[in-house]
């Protein structure tokens, strides 16, 4: 009996000690960012301009999803570090792609009297729910990089012009395709890897792709659409199936750079992973502008990359929130558009350092 009591008591105390052992919250930037590249923190080049002390005495809640891509990991690091440099007490929450958990965490932020919220929505629907909760609590809120499904709530929305950037990216790919067709006389077989269409970003990138492809029926067969749900495993499986059914695919646009490893693993065994100019090269383009994409552009496997200006978006998120807090606005409503640009093999020499993925240190 005594032994049982000792075991139970020890187990319970261990549980509480584990919880209490991490007291103090995240007043300093977290170094636990996880990413596809495996780096604990993305190092140099991610410093964004922020006025030191501009958020002194303020508590800012930063809620993000699982950091499964370089873009999110770099964005999280940039924002966290900048908020700390601004003097804010930062409450960080990882909702791990769970919309209900994200809502609970935002409510907990409000309980802790956060002065402002920056969050990365799981999707458009959950963005609306979070914004509604923040509006009810009169806490200014910024939605980073993913817009809400509709504009029923009031928030500062910082988002890239995904449609325009995707269009620019694919337009360059089309010029390459025109040269190829001129040389071979054969139409190309295009394929687009589509993101999760519950995410407005994915919808816009797909739209941008088709905007650029419009009017080129003489150049291309009908586009094959591969669904990825923003998941690497799903992307690889579906791409494999698509390539099995359509081995002549020679023009691929991926809605996000994080899927390049999957694309390489599918194209390589088929003998289609070739550099630009080499016989059998698949004209390849993507969007985000991460470090991997930079490397692949330097080695000429990728022809064109649409770049979201991560640092611009992160800086605007913080500066707009700071301005709203200082002005006493509890429900600011504004849309900040990141125009982005397309980095191509033609402008690589002059514009590569404008791409955040070429500036940050590569993952170790």
């Amino acid at each position: 009996m005594n032994k049982i009591w000792r075991v139970l008591t020890t187990g319970f105390c261990l549980t509480l000690v584990t919880a209490c052992g991490s007291v103090g919250g995240n007043a300093t930037p977290s170094s636990n960012a996880t990413s596809a590249g495996g780096s604990a923190s993305a190092g140099g080049g991610l410093n964004i301009n922020v006025e030191a002390g501009s958020l002194a005495g303020k508590t800012i809640c930063f809620n993000f999803q699982a950091l499964e891509t370089e873009f999110w990991a770099a964005g999280k690091t940039a924002i966290s570090e900048a908020l700390t440099r601004a003097g804010a007490k930062v409450l960080e929450f990882n909702s791990n792609e769970d919309a209900n958990r994200q809502l609970e965490q935002i409510q907990d932020c409000v309980t802790q009297k956060a002065d402002g919220i920056i969050f990365i929505p799981q999707d458009g629907a959950s963005a609306n729910t979070v914004i509604s909760a923040a509006n009810t609590a009169n806490v200014p809120v910024v939605a980073f990089n993913r817009p809400p499904a509709d504009e029923s709530g009031k928030a500062i929305v910082v988002v890239a012009d995904n449609r325009g950037v995707a269009k620019q990216t694919v337009e360059y790919m089309v010029t390459v395709a025109q040269k190829q067709m001129a040389a071979t006389g054969k139409k190309l077989q295009p394929l687009i890897m589509v993101g999760d269409l519950a995410d407005v970003n994915a919808v816009d990138r797909r739209s941008g792709y088709f905007d650029a492809m419009a009017g080129h029926d003489d150049l291309f067969q009908k586009s094959i659409e591969v669904e990825t749900k923003w998941d690497a495993t799903t992307a690889q499986q579906n791409l494999q199936s698509a390539m099995q059914a359509n081995p002549k695919v020679d023009f691929v646009f991926t809605s996000s750079d994080f899927m390049y490893p999957q694309i390489q693993s599918v194209l390589s065994p088929l003998g289609k992973w070739k550099v630009s100019g080499e016989d059998g090269h698949v004209i390849l383009g993507g969007l985000d502008g991460d470090n991997r994409a930079c490397g692949l552009m330097k080695t000429k496997y990728v022809d064109s990359t649409g770049v979201q200006d991560l640092l611009f978006e992160a800086e605007k998120s913080i500066s707009e929130l700071t301005a709203a807090i200082k002005a006493g606005e509890t429900a600011p409503s504004k849309k900040v558009l990141d125009p982005g640009f397309a980095l191509t093999l033609a402008n690589m020499d002059t514009k590569q350092n404008d791409m955040w993925g070429c500036v940050i240190e590569p993952p170790k």
Binding site: S22, G25, N96, T111, A125, A149, L197
Partner: protein, 363 residues
């Protein structure tokens, strides 16, 4: 779960017979009585609150208590469903799939508008919903949609219960494979899209003052069924020893079947509240919730071995879980730290459940 296992009568079930057993209870040491009592969980909850209070800013603030309440009600309904199945000696791993399935179908029926660009490829486009909304997208339609959600939950429960009770398949495998089928069907139904634009009359359910009476009434009914009805007695007897119960004339198969049906119904009710809260039917609803459900039930004294558990205990288990999660969030811990702690807590609860069972076997 081995329905044929021989186990003595356990506490946490129907009222104990009078005479010598009552006297034995009175002679048991305090720690043992506490271990079997629902008060144990309440005491744990109070200890957690006191332990976290210095570190969790705003833990007892009115706003936070409302948040805790809004997290409590939907989880309670789902745990009640799991309680019925666990008492019967089974387990229902398909609750998360039922959550998503009923969420999405209820939303399709209730939506007030739908974008063809997102949903035109859904097999139910033009049947259950179109660009003008769902077939039940109006005031009274919300109540009907709820009924449909519960019916769908009951249907899945019926399938689970049939496979377990009639075919004799292990509950673990049945409900796990049901999860695969239902999840795939749900994703196929909306092509993975969330279903938006739910009626304001429905999303208003998310407020505590509406969700609370619904959950309380349901919990009271479930408590009465378990503790006062013939079915409740049959359920405990089946969970203690199915073979003996069958020999005694209890329709064990029907009892088990009904337990899974009830699990499906209660899960659908939980889905209704979660869906209202999130403002959308989500095919991924509850994907990470299963361990919370089972953990809360076990913490509340519902035995994984069957034959033991009360609605009051389950409710206190949910309260403990929700308060713990809330407190850890307010402490600003990393989400993986919170997962570690929750895992340890669940493991401890299972350990306590095992200890209880062994003590009962010895006595």
């Amino acid at each position: 779960m081995d329905h044929a296992a021989t186990k003595p009568a356990t506490r946490g079930g129907p009222p104990a017979p009078s005479g010598p057993v009552v006297s034995q209870e009175a002679r048991q040491p305090l720690w043992r009585r506490l271990l079997y009592s629902d008060l144990f969980v309440l005491l744990l909850t109070l200890i957690v609150v006191l332990a976290l209070l210095p570190f969790a800013n705003g833990l007892l603030s009115p706003g936070n208590l409302l948040n805790v309440a809004s997290n409590f009600w939907p989880l309670l309904l789902i745990v009640i469903g799991q309680t019925f199945v666990l008492i019967a000696g089974g387990i229902d791993l398909s609750q998360t799939a039922i959550l998503a399935f009923t969420s999405v179908f209820g939303a399709m029926l209730m939506t007030t508008a739908a974008n063809p660009a997102l949903y035109a490829k859904s097999p139910f486009w033009g049947i259950l919903f179109n660009e003008n909304g769902g077939v039940l997208g109006s005031g009274a339609g919300v109540a009907v949609a709820w009924g449909v959600m519960m019916a769908l939950g009951a249907l899945i429960g019926l399938l689970n219960g049939f496979a377990v009770s009639r075919v004799g398949m292990p509950p673990f495998m049945v409900t796990l494979t049901t999860t695969l089928f239902i999840t795939a069907f749900t994703v196929w139904s909306t092509k993975s899209e969330n279903v938006l634009n739910l009626p304001p009359a429905y999303t208003a359910l998310a407020t505590s003052w509406i969700a609370a009476p619904i959950a309380v009434v349901v919990a009271v009914i479930a408590h009465v069924v378990l503790s006062r009805s013939v079915y409740g007695h049959w359920l405990y007897a089946t969970g203690i020893n199915a073979r003996t119960a069958e020999v005694s004339g209890i329709p064990v198969r029907r009892v088990i079947l009904m337990a899974y049906v009830l699990s499906g119904v209660f899960t659908a009710l939980g889905a209704a509240l979660y869906t209202a809260r999130l403002g959308a039917g989500r095919p991924t609803l509850g994907a990470n919730l299963l361990m919370d459900v089972i953990g809360a039930a076990v913490i509340g004294g519902v035995s994984l071995m069957g034959g033991r558990g009360r609605i009051t205990g389950a409710a206190l288990g949910v309260l403990f879980f929700v308060v713990l999660t809330n407190g850890l969030n307010l402490m600003g811990l990393e989400f993986y730290t919170i997962m570690w702690v929750k895992g340890l807590v669940i493991l401890s609860a299972v350990g306590i459940d095992t200890v209880r069972s062994r003590l009962e076997a010895r006595s």
